[in-house]
Symmetry: D2
Subunit: 288 residues, 4 copies
């Protein structure tokens, strides 16, 4: 994969935005590889993702603070009141995986990572159980056990937070992590915690969604990957998928079929996040 | 299509049920074409559908009351405490279609009926608007307008009920009929009213499900066909399906994509009902 | 739907193309609503679709020959050796539908057209059979019968050609039209004839694809919409979809299930064509 | 999962077959849990799968040769000229996995086996490369390397055959095994070798199906699991599935998306085989 730079922009919709950005990239020697944009009529927002080849780009992108880019781009950013971010595909974001006992999503993510599907680093796995140490060892990823109980929740979250800082994590993935973080914790990491819910949200919010689905007698079950917000299972949806079930399927069959869904849906969401393809507007995602 | 007889059975699970039924059909000269059964562990129920060729059957099935069959089958039925029903594929059930202004499901059902996909009669279309008269004329189906307002609801339902009786309807299909029947009315026709809901139940119950789905930012929208019960959008689900959407889709796009879903899901449900493939247990369906 | 202008561009990949086009639109007062592009590495081709709001555009687009636009845009077009086309959403392209006896795709297209899903005109239906006259009448579309036999093929094609010219058709849709046009005829209308093949191309080319699929025992059947080229069932694929089948499905069931596929796949392809979303490179399509 | 006995029957279609089998099971104290049957009109074949609870069955099923069952069932079997087989869910069939360098299907099967999804034993993995030894070790499965070259093919197949016998394998799975067995070898194991083909058969037979699919510009790619026969990629299809692709997908993307398909399709096929749900008629499968 060629190295590329990705510019993500969000601003009030106005004339000349595409032209200004495309012209900026061109004037500085960049070659646009992909450009996607979306204008949301309801909110009047304009969202854009531009991926360009920075080989001949005349602005220094090696600087971690992007000071030069920031200075040169600021006239456009200010004119259009842009919120923006520049990512380099050469920078592999650091992802911490959280897991409890169910290991299917963990194993799936580690395998995909190893096979090159996910262009990120995995500095650490955090679990509230020791069970998945052996898998972590096989893939040579450090594994930290942080027990969480009703009584030590605040302290445990502080410990998790320290680990996140220590390992310089860019984002976190809850790969069937059976603990609910406090609002305080969640609000610290906006658009930086990805969860997989084993139900077709907004149906079957909360605990035991497969049992809920079985009770209701649905003919399709689903899984949903979303960013975590303060409200349980309510954050911006990144990806969803479903699979057909029938009266022949027991709850155990739903759980088994669901595992395949969860793996695929979560790994797609992680990949989209890693490739900087997701922009938020309100409580919704644009996936470019 | 060959003529066939379909025996539908529901009873407490017990040994010897399949053998007794298969033997009964065989002893009387029937040839089993299809046999499906399901034992529901939770409720301890056994459900079975046997389709047989009655060409050489030695029990008279021409009698409308099936007195002979009833007498001969009663020892088995009583032994296993069976609830049962015998249907003949030569009998085309009579379906009344209810429609308001949106005509896509109506047009779809009429076309499928004409092309032979639905082995039923359509003696009448009932609407609360005159708009779809022209379509009814094209397909040569009588069209009755029964206005329903807040004030005349009880009276209107009596009128509808008279039409159902007069036209000897076996079942009713609400093809995007925008009125909610009273509990009294609904309870009169258990497992005899099929609705199409333009949402993936149990998500997005009630009004404007596509708008709800748009607001929530889901990545798939769905449609659900179910039997109507007293509780809104809560009856046994017959069929569901979904289609992918993205940030590029406006509410209008959701409505457009949803039309295709609604047509396919409703027509599948109607076909399954007409072919006597649906059995109920609790608030769930077995679809054989 | 707002009126918009759509610029479609195809050229050798080079730096500055997005910027030049975006800047051109902006300088002349257009507001870009959607922009999509694709660079094909293999062929070195750059393809782009830009949709803009022409309300304040200072170039006259009312002129049918677009002489003014052509003059102003030519420096860019020449610099990058662009093949380009400008379409106005206010111009509803004229589509002639070809049909034989099977009417499901015809009925589906006419219904969608009437309900506003397809922003085109339908000046004429051409058939080699009189059977579908009644449907045409219902939708008030002229219906011409052009019989084709082995002996009169050349003459029949000349007659069809006259009808195409007379009705100023922009493109033709073969909605289960059971005749194969000559190479001469086909080559006259590149990327202007859309066909629906009732098989998952490139599997099951030629006659009776559902019978072929049944014989092979596949677990999914498909339908494919493509532009017609000289080579049978080999043109650029626009859209495909599949549906699950099993041993319980007879050939008749495959045909029935296939009808739903064909309708959906063909209508999606027509809609994409009407909205100027399809660009060709080699024998493949980019669908924006 | 309860222990059960599964009777698989194939015979010319005739009256009384279901009754005779159901009665036989009942008379001997078995309780039918599931019964599925299919009559194929073309070939005049009747196929049936009966799963029953043998807890109170009065015929000895512990005997490996099933001599008692054989004797008692033979009158029915002879009367209807049945080909039949009795399997016990308590017997876990022995599966040898063949793999080359691509490990995704291998890893997936091993993980599913470990998590209890596949009720079989895996006595051995055979590969023509040493690469996947480490994965085998992690799952504690013996791993044999049998190099195959043009010159030693006959000898290598003899070696494989010895391993199959030595490990008493019931069936073999080619989990992206990049060698083609000789007809001699294949014919030794009818309906006992399962392959995964990374294309939507019968499209894209042979080598590099994803490259073929990319060249043709299809909008969906597929994977197919089938029993291996003498003719390449032509055996009875067990399971297929597809995933959507677009012009944005490179060949590498097709390969990546295809991996997920291959895993799911192959593991479903293996599970169906292990649960004795597949019957053959001609070159086709019935999947109960």
């Amino acid at each position: 994969m060629k190295s590329s730079a990705i510019l993500l922009v969000s601003c009030p919709d106005a004339k000349g935005e595409v032209a200004s950005i495309a012209d900026f990239v061109y004037r500085h020697g960049g070659n646009i590889l992909h450009a996607d944009e979306h204008a949301d009529e309801e909110s009047g927002l304009f969202l854009m993702r531009v991926e360009f080849d920075p080989k001949d780009f005349d602005i220094d992108l090696a600087d971690k603070d992007l000071a030069d880019f920031r200075r040169q781009f600021s006239p456009i950013a200010e004119k259009f009141r842009m919120t923006w971010r520049l990512a380099l595909s050469s920078h592999r974001p650091r992802m911490i995986i959280f897991v409890s006992k169910y290991d299917h999503c963990l194993v799936d993510l580690l395998y995909r990572h190893q096979s090159g599907e996910l262009a990120c680093e995995i500095p650490l796995i955090i679990s509230n159980h020791p069970d998945n140490q052996r898998v972590a060892n096989f893939y040579k990823i450090p594994y930290a056990v942080v027990s969480i109980t009703k009584d030590n929740k605040q302290q445990a979250e502080r410990q998790v937070q320290s680990l996140i800082e220590e390992h310089k994590a860019d984002f976190m993935v809850l790969a069937r992590y059976m603990q609910i973080f406090s609002s305080d914790f969640v609000n610290r990491y906006p658009q930086r915690i990805i969860n997989i819910h084993h139900g077709f949200l907004p149906a079957f919010i909360g605990a035991k969604p497969y049992h809920q689905a079985f009770e209701r007698g649905v003919k399709l079950i689903g899984a949903t990957s979303h960013y975590v917000t303060e409200v349980l299972d309510d954050g911006p949806i990144i990806e969803q998928d479903v699979v057909r079930v029938s009266h022949r399927d027991t709850v155990d069959d739903l759980i088994r079929k669901g595992r395949d869904l969860e793996k695929v849906v979560l790994s797609r969401a992680v990949r989209l996040h890693v490739e900087n393809r997701i922009l938020l507007y309100g409580n919704k995602t644009v996936v470019f």
